[in-house]
Symmetry: C2
Subunit: 165 residues, 2 copies
């Protein structure tokens, strides 16, 4: 009886999987609004200091997040593909972005709590615990989106507020 009671008590968590997913999707929603804030042309071409245009950074994000979760859940090795045929269409990028929003929800919810501490190798080269792989995807998105804020400001465009998710 005592054991049953222990087991049925909710386990104290720093962050629950559901909270981690919501936190990430909140960031993804903000990144989507930053993509939308770019003039079509600037999204594909504007750079500062020899850096990549924002479209290239967005394709990097799209090569990491959803594919990483797919590999974690299915175990099939995925190649890091940082480019796809977008035809210089922001609408096409946003379409794939939205598909990935659904994929991320679908795959994330298939990761049991016990697996977040499991060390996995993704894309045949990055070996870290599952939680750290997810944190990397989120952190990398924040990092490059922050750079897009500078691009937008230097274009005279006010970016969406960082703390509105």
């Amino acid at each position: 009886m005592s054991t049953t009671t222990e087991k049925s008590k909710p386990t104290a968590q720093t962050i629950s999987p559901a909270e981690m997913l919501e936190h990430w999707q909140g960031h993804r929603g903000l990144t989507r609004r930053v993509i939308e804030a770019f003039p079509d042309d600037a999204f594909f071409t504007y750079t500062i200091g020899g850096m990549r245009p924002f479209v290239e950074m967005v394709m990097e994000m799209m090569a990491i997040g959803a594919p990483a979760l797919r590999e974690i859940v299915t175990g099939e090795q995925i190649h890091l593909r940082e480019h796809f045929d977008h035809g210089n269409s922001k609408a096409r990028i946003l379409e794939v972005w939205d598909q990935q929003t659904e994929e991320i929800n679908e795959f994330f919810n298939q990761i049991p709590l016990e697996r977040f501490q499991e060390t996995v190798t993704l894309f045949g080269q990055f070996t870290f615990p599952v939680w750290s792989q997810i944190a990397y995807a989120i952190d990398n998105e924040i990092h490059h989106r922050g750079q897009a804020y500078v691009y937008l400001r230097s274009l005279g465009i006010a970016p969406p507020l960082f703390y509105e998710r």
Copy 2:
């Protein structure tokens, strides 16, 4: 006996408090190297698109992270103070940065696992769970540090690698 066994088993965690602290301090180490990479003058004056010089962003980070943890642990209300007298000295900024590295370790380790889900109001205005307050401090640091990468690149300086922590 059975209950004792249950209790002594490590609880499954998405991220343990120790891992969250190490992750944050890894980011802080990178931010420190980005501060160091700036020429002294540019750190205090260089801007793009009407944004703040990096020193202002760094003082914002310093107003949030360690003070937030202090308020979480001690319960005494702290005012958000985004400026201090640095005398245009990067060495002074780094000195306070390093003091905060120690404070963050000290306070973080006084937050029991059960408190990460507790909702707290910080600086008299931001009401979120403890984990979310900490995530905000980390995310905000990554966001502004990403902007500093653009400043450095446009100054012709190669920033430290994002994934080296």
